[in-house]
Assembly symmetry: C2
Homo-oligomer: 482 residues x 2
Amino acid sequence: MSAPVSRRLKAAIVGGGVIGGGWAARFLLNGWDVAVFDPDPDATRKINEVIANARIALPALYDKALPSEGTLTFHSDLADALADVDWVQESVPEQLELKHKVLGALSEAAPADAVIASSTSGFKPSELNAQGARAIVAHPFNPVYLLPLVELVGAAERTAPAAEILRSIGMFPLVLRKEIDAHIADRLLEAVWRESLWLVKDGVATTEEIDEAIRMGFGIRWAQMGLFETYRIAGGEAGMKHFMKQFGPALSWPWTKLMDVPEFTPELVDLIAGQSDAQSGHLSIRELERLRDDNIVGMVRALKRSGSGAAGVICAHEAALAAPKRREGLPVTACRQVPSSWTDYNGHMNETHYLEAASKATDRFMELIGADAAYVAGGKSYFTVESHVRYLEEVHAGDRITITSQVLNGAGKKLHLLHRIWRGDGTLAATIETLLLHTDLEARRACEPEAHVADALSKLAADHAALPAEGAGRFVGQRPTA
Amino acid sequence: MSAPVSRRLKAAIVGGGVIGGGWAARFLLNGWDVAVFDPDPDATRKINEVIANARIALPALYDKALPSEGTLTFHSDLADALADVDWVQESVPEQLELKHKVLGALSEAAPADAVIASSTSGFKPSELNAQGARAIVAHPFNPVYLLPLVELVGAAERTAPAAEILRSIGMFPLVLRKEIDAHIADRLLEAVWRESLWLVKDGVATTEEIDEAIRMGFGIRWAQMGLFETYRIAGGEAGMKHFMKQFGPALSWPWTKLMDVPEFTPELVDLIAGQSDAQSGHLSIRELERLRDDNIVGMVRALKRSGSGAAGVICAHEAALAAPKRREGLPVTACRQVPSSWTDYNGHMNETHYLEAASKATDRFMELIGADAAYVAGGKSYFTVESHVRYLEEVHAGDRITITSQVLNGAGKKLHLLHRIWRGDGTLAATIETLLLHTDLEARRACEPEAHVADALSKLAADHAALPAEGAGRFVGQRPTA
């Protein structure tokens, strides 16, 4: 389904677990071959579990199909895993001596032009490379297959090509200006973690109350704007300086316990683990992961409308994805995986989303005939006046669907289309017959399309005239005819 | 449209601005009368601007209509504003002497059973009431009309009834176990704010880079799960204790500058204000607010599927909202305001959402005939096999739409419905004719409905048989007949 690639790119994942597995999924679902090296006998199971989650979640962020998956292999020999790799990702436990050993071996055995990156959350490149390795830091965030952020730290000549590769697999490389312990995000997380430990230890709040204080309030703000842009708004017309004038003094008030570090006693660990059990213990980790992924997919898909935050990364990546062009003599106007948020209590794709998929196919068809965003900005567009959906087969979350669009009539103000939704198994899942009227957006009245659109339409109408149009022209409840 | 209330409840808003305006909008859009007292000559304009934003955003979170708005009045006399109030919200500037003066006057003049609440972000009730006032803290988060969190601090006999009122207007009261400077959320925010100031001051990151580090990564996690539940997942099968064992030691590492407070020099203020201008200066505060609100509405609507975080509050509140029952002899199966996320590049409600609204109306109709969630859990349901939409009139963001549902045929396995979408101005905006088949969810084959469902359907079909069903039975492009 994807555009042919001269050579499959290859990533080596050294050290499995949740982070390594997330990296493996990122590369694999973007069409890379992935070779895993991990002495843990459980590595295959663990990584396959992460990839199974990723296969449901990551493609659901996109309204286009991702490239077809690369090949996943597991290796007990490091040299095998590293043969011809373009990217090596180290995600071994956070111990500097171990990192030295592993990154040293990788720097020796990997091809000279391969990126060697460490997932470390705390160490600086100068520390990682103290014994001669040539690694950069590429610090991702869990779940790695969904969250775009990667903090890149290292020499510019190494981070620049790495950033380009990360963007090509839909991630957001944040290149640090200088190295610092724990990079950027984990410093912020550490500050909140410390303050939260105090609140629990002092009996001010439970873990659940702290989570509510975050997700019922500023968490929602931060997911789409972050800290400073949010405060800019709080400053109002008077701007950022006004905000800082207002809240600057609070810095010297006793609003935090941050000057002090709570002692990590067994009692504190028990207190927090107990509260966490009370809060979330009714759900298994797998259930929590699925809930988290569904929530993230839903929120990021909602942000695609504005392109804010993580959704901007998805939109840019999606625009760069190749799509199939024709099928059975008709233009392909959609090819995508069905997100689980499109399914309903009957365990299949809800009726609404058949029409949503067809509506997006109509938008794509408009681009094909030149009635694109620029045309709309010029004051003309097509309005749908009637649609008829026949639901022929069930479609499930994760199914890949393809839509073709046939012109039944493209003369004058009228545009009569027949969309077909095909499942990945070749079954026709639905037809959507739709009638649109070309409209003057100022007057909100029907009018003739411009010449280049009319020409494109009449050419397509002529091309499609000889093709069958089974199921068109029917009323609801009409019996099928032979 | 809403259920009749014996007496309208009334809130007094003392001190306008963004926070006072947000409170005014919360009460007003939930059917309360609101009286504003603010000596600022600009108060009327400022509050009306906030309410205008809220009218677009808050109802868009709901799939049911909110109660009809209360009456908004502005007063120069405090006693007028306080007459017969149930809730008084003080949102004057953050100066303890001023708070003493205002809260003292309110405690004297307000009815004895009215809640007197302060929006203070930092002061404790013991400080606020040091000179005899009887206030509690009800600390909200901007935008107050969208974010559900309110930190409630004070004596239990005062916070308990206040919490009940806040829940009735769709908010989430977090009642603190003990008073503490800056409550909970602002302590966490303060920690991040300090660390961020250091990062900017030390040239490690710009304001934009810090915002990206948040919203591309942990911000999305926190919006739906908060801190501890996220870390619980990070601990994996081994649980919270494992996570703490792994990351506890980092507390003593040099990962933050938190032991120290950055000096708030004019240079630091200029540096941050300049970076913020470079980041967001191309958008006005009004544009940023609209973007923020659209993003929040979209994300919270997406979370309604799981009911996580803020969406759980919306779902509970929505379930408690009354809805109209009948219109022109037909059951009303939907009554709601159109969210701006339902509109498209043609400046009106996209074709998909006519069907989405009708699909939710079908769900409501199913509850009316007893084919509800319990019935589906028992293994039977209705599957849609065909739908025909006639788009008759444009619908815009903020329009209130009402849907009626008519049974054309309810005999045997077949259910043939005609939904009509009515705009608030009485215009018929669309008809959606739909055919469903009663289905065995195990076999995925059509079967007869259970007796109570069949009975309910045949009764409705008889009731609706004499009513007109204009526009049903038509094929796409068929000419209207007289």
